[in-house]
């Protein structure tokens, strides 16, 4: 039980380390690069992303049976939530993983983004429990 917990933490840590390093070398956390992608001045990262999706798709097809069931459904929050996220992404240059990469690259004010994300996630839980109550199918649960 305990060794299992330790192994679990190590696995998450290892993947996180590599994830952070890869995102740094791609330049995803560089606001200038990201902005260039969003205004179609440089499509390199768009190709990177499309390529990653294609590669993942192929491996998923090969591993077909070992892939856990994912609970993702179209729900009332899908479109407004994605819009809010898109606008926030354009403003901060950060999605929930990139904020840590920005910090790691030395962009210190990413701390504010991190605090903002924390508040946003916390706030959504409150608002959702109180007013919405539909099934969001958030990943990783």
């Amino acid at each position: 039980m305990n060794t299992r917990r330790v192994k679990q933490h190590l696995a998450y840590g290892l993947v996180g380390l590599i994830f952070g390093g890869v995102l740094t070398r791609i330049g995803f956390a560089d606001y200038d690069e990201l902005h260039k992608m969003f205004i179609f001045a440089d499509l390199r990262m768009l190709y990177t992303f499309a390529g990653a999706v294609a590669l993942t798709m192929v491996v998923y097809l090969v591993l077909n049976r070992r892939i856990p069931k994912q609970h993702k459904i179209i729900q009332p929050g899908t479109i407004p939530g994605s819009m809010l996220f898109g606008f926030g992404w354009a403003i901060t240059g950060a999605c929930p993983s990139l904020v840590f990469v920005q910090l790691g690259m030395g962009a210190l004010p990413a701390v504010f983004t991190g605090i903002g994300i924390f508040i946003g996630v916390w706030l959504y839980r409150k608002v959702h429990g109180r007013f919405f109550g539909w099934d969001t199918g958030t990943c990783g649960v």
């Binding site: 998450y12 993702k72 994605s82 901060t92």
Partner: protein
Amino acid sequence: MTEYWPWWLGAIGLGGVSILYLLLIGRLLGVSGSWAKVVAWKENREQLEAAEALVEDTEAMENALMAETLAEFGEDAIRELQAESATNEAEPAATASLDELESTTPWTAHLVFLLSMFVGAFLVSWFTGEFHPRLDLSDVHTRIFGSLWEVWLALLVGGMMVGFGTQMAGGCTSGHGLSGCARLLPASLLATAVFMASAIFLSLLMEVMIR
């Protein structure tokens, strides 16, 4: 200005990470899910403790029942019962709850995941000589948002939008964009199209406004 990876190398790296996550952890990559777990650490801990307590309780209760039965009916009845339950396979109920407990990832693992992303980014940018501490995000970002406190305020508000939006949409760039799109899930394709379109729209708008 340092050269970033060409698109094909980035694609291999990024795709590789999502596959590694699946193989090592057995789940699909989704960073906003990790955020949700960390922010809700208290509920997650209580959930884990409740599950553990339940398993312990089940054992304690079985032992107590067994002792009572033993006192009431004696050893022979127990042996009969055990023979019966062996044929009926009454066991799965107990093991099912154990499995459920094992599949519950503690929130600390998700926290380790998020923090090690920071460490990984720091190490790589340090060794490639790209680590430059700065108080704003970038030159373009400062040109758009103006003075330092405006930049910080924009980041705080934008961060709240990201946090709220990803939870509402049920995923982010990794969960919907990478894992979901790779499986062609309708919800993920829709979410990815919408957040890319809104980010592009606002970026173009900001670009026009600073000109």
